[in-house]
């Protein structure tokens, strides 16, 4: 199977005054296209850190990440923005929606980000339609014009997933998408992800819940800063 993303000997540490905290001590990973991978590990084991590095939101101290054979360390400026905008969709543990924008605008934001003001006029209706479809699919049809702070946690997380999918990225990265939700809502989110996976979406999901991890097609464990399957 074709490789989607590959991590080679990733190391990441944080300096806390005089002590050094080694979070990732040489992570090696290869994830193929169309997989639904769960990353599990104890709290503080570096799951989020790893996911950030895979999504080019952070850089490792050493080691490299290859996205479809392209080394992320070699990406600069425009290329890097293109990668974050088009190639990956990131779902954060704490939703991270823009409070000033409505639900609909939040979902459309990545599409707006990559177009000029003029270009936007031609793309607007198409993007809007797609955003409607996504929100409809996640059961948020009635909440289009609400502000994020007017929604429940589960609703916000679904908006965040819709946002991550608007540009149809080949890779979806989700950091504990169910972490802050009760089990029923969490289950709904999981079902949605499974459905996406069924459609061929590659997903890497961080979780500390073994039950949720067992639903994935592959489980990766982070222990002592290294991968154990």
């Amino acid at each position: 199977m074709e490789t989607m993303i590959k991590a080679q000997n990733i190391k990441k540490s944080y300096k806390m005054g005089k002590t050094r905290l080694d979070v990732l001590r040489g992570v090696n990973l290869t994830i193929e296209k169309g997989r639904f991978v769960a990353v599990v590990g104890a709290s503080g084991s570096g799951k989020s850190t790893l996911l950030h590095i895979l999504g080019a939101l952070d850089r490792p101290n050493s080691g490299s990440v290859f996205y479809q054979k392209q080394d992320l360390a070699g990406l600069r400026w425009g290329k890097l923005n293109h990668f974050r905008n088009k190639e990956v969709g990131f779902v954060f543990q704490f939703y991270h929606l823009l409070d000033e924008l409505t639900v609909l605008e939040n979902v459309m934001a990545p599409a707006m980000a990559s177009t000029s003001s003029l270009g936007w006029f031609s793309l607007r209706s198409k993007t809007r339609k797609k955003a409607h479809q996504l929100l409809d699919r996640f059961g948020l049809k009635e909440r289009l014009c609400h502000k994020p702070y007017e929604l429940s946690g589960g609703e916000r997380q679904r908006v965040a997933i819709a946002r991550a999918l608007i540009n149809e990225p080949p890779l979806l990265l989700a950091d504990e998408p169910t972490g802050n939700l009760d089990s029923r809502t969490g289950h709904g989110i999981l079902e949605a992800l499974k459905e996406l996976h069924g459609e061929g979406q590659t997903i890497i999901m961080v979780t500390h819940d073994e039950r949720i991890a067992s639903q994935a097609s592959r489980v990766i464990r982070l222990i002592d800063g290294k991968v154990q399957e």
């Binding site: 999504g55 939101l57 952070d58 923005n81 707006m112 980000a113």
Partner: protein, 449 residues
């Protein structure tokens, strides 16, 4: 696209942008009002000095004056760039009412009223005889007698409230005695019959130039009589200055240079004649040079004001800087989100720049409108304050200001608005640069704390 949307939303959703706008509005308001009033005062004052002096002045430093002026005036009148020329005999003296009551120190200016009003704005400074300048030295109530024109502040016609003057319908019959100290050609007091020459004049009109030192000191008399009073009639006829008006459209600077050359040649030719040594004291000056001593302090004041208000501009930049800094540190999470969805650094900076331009534009607009409105009403406001609280910005019995200048100049306004926008953009650049440089993860974590 997203930069426009977010800049717009930030602008409307944040109470803090109202604070920033208020700060900008106040600054623009103050700067506009002060600049307008200050510029107006300086311009007005310069204009009055120009009106008073003409374009170019050939003047003797000493009260003795200089001679052989008639030929030179003929020479001047032959020049294509010269419109009119007026000789003036000046001296110091005392003015007293009938019976010797109240002696006031004055400057005597002997003029030819027609030439003088062709050269300077003299004719327009008159009250009764604006239209009949040639008759200005013939009192309307006694045309046969010697008339004089008195600086308006010597007459005490001034209303303290708004600085305006009142005049009776006709000039009041009034005999004024002028005592002068005639000087001989060596500069000593002339020893004729008396050390002081005295002559009665009849008040025929007053002159209102708007210059305190002129209106409060000068008494105009006919040229020949001025010369007699000041001892400038013997042994050679002398005057103190020649005022020159240039033709419209000629360069003042170049023309002054030409006159200077003409004068140098003429003085050299006549230096050997009796009294030729007096030429050494004579200077050819443009009106600006001639009136420098009074204009310069005013200009200094204006420069100082401009400096002070530049500082205000710095404070505006600082306020905008602080406001944007606060907004941006509040919005650190948003910056992280934007970066994580691939918004470029330049778009993020642009977003905050746009936001600051909105603030600048709205602030400048409100400030200009408020300033314009205030200036439009400023004279009414001042009158009202005087009527109710006897308070005046400029005490009209001291300052020669009729109305507070309130004409907003478009170029001043444009400069103010332009610099406001620039200032706000500068204020926004630093914090947005700083924010945009952070890694997305860093920005996202800050807000979780």
């Amino acid at each position: 696209m997203i930069k426009w949307l977010l800049a717009w939303r930030y602008f409307f959703k944040r109470p803090i942008s109202i604070l920033a706008i208020t700060a900008v509005t106040l600054c623009v308001f103050i700067v506009l009002v002060v600049m307008t009033v200050m510029n107006g005062l300086v311009r007005d004052f310069k204009q009055k000095n120009h009106d008073y002096a003409g374009d170019c002045i050939i003047e003797a430093d000493s009260l003795v004056g200089f001679g052989y002026y008639e030929d030179f005036i003929d020479l001047l009148l032959k020049q294509s760039y010269i419109e009119a020329v007026s000789p003036v005999a000046k001296g110091v003296g005392l003015l007293s009412g009938p019976g010797g009551v109240r002696n006031i120190g004055i400057e005597i200016h002997g003029i030819n009223p027609i030439l003088h009003s062709q050269t300077t704005n003299f004719g327009q400074t008159l009250h009764y005889q604006k239209q009949t300048v040639s008759d200005v030295f013939r009192p309307q109530y006694a045309p046969g007698r010697n008339g004089c024109v008195v600086g308006i502040d010597l007459m005490g016609f001034r209303k303290p409230s708004d600085g305006s003057y009142y005049h009776p319908d006709n000039p009041i019959p009034l005999e004024l005695v002028v005592n002068a100290f005639p000087l001989n050609i060596k500069g000593g007091l002339q020893r004729s019959l008396d050390l002081v020459s005295t002559k009665s004049f009849y008040y025929s009109d007053d002159s209102h130039s708007g210059l305190v030192r002129v209106d409060g000191a000068v008494v105009y008399v006919p040229l020949e009589q001025g010369q007699i009073l000041c001892g400038m009639d013997v042994p050679i006829k002398r005057i103190s200055s020649i005022h020159i008006k240039f033709k419209k459209g000629v360069s003042g600077r170049a023309s002054v240079g030409q006159v200077r050359q003409l004068w140098a040649d003429y003085a050299a030719q006549n230096a050997d004649k009796p009294g030729g040594d007096l030429f050494a004291n004579v200077h050819v000056q443009s009106w600006q040079e001639n009136r420098r001593s009074v204009i310069a302090p005013m200009e200094k004041e204006q420069t100082m004001m401009t400096m002070l208000f530049l500082m205000l501009g710095v404070i505006t930049v600082f306020i905008v800087f602080v406001v944007l800094y606060m907004i941006i540190s509040h919005k650190s999470k948003d910056i992280g989100i934007l970066k994580s969805i691939g918004v470029s650094i330049s778009d993020i900076i642009w977003m905050f720049l746009l936001f600051s331009v909105f603030i600048a534009l709205i602030g400048a607009l409100l400030g200009s409108a408020a300033g314009w409105g205030f200036l439009y009403k400023v004279n009414d406001i001042e009158d009202w304050l005087y009527e109710h609280y006897e308070w005046q910005l400029w005490n009209r019995s001291v300052y020669a200001i009729g109305e507070i200048p309130n004409k907003v100049e478009m170029d001043v306004l444009a400069v103010i608005i332009g610099s406001t926008i620039l200032a706000c953009m500068i204020g926004a650049t630093v914090p947005s640069l700083q924010a945009a440089r952070k890694k997305p993860v860093q920005s996202l974590q800050v807000n979780q704390l």
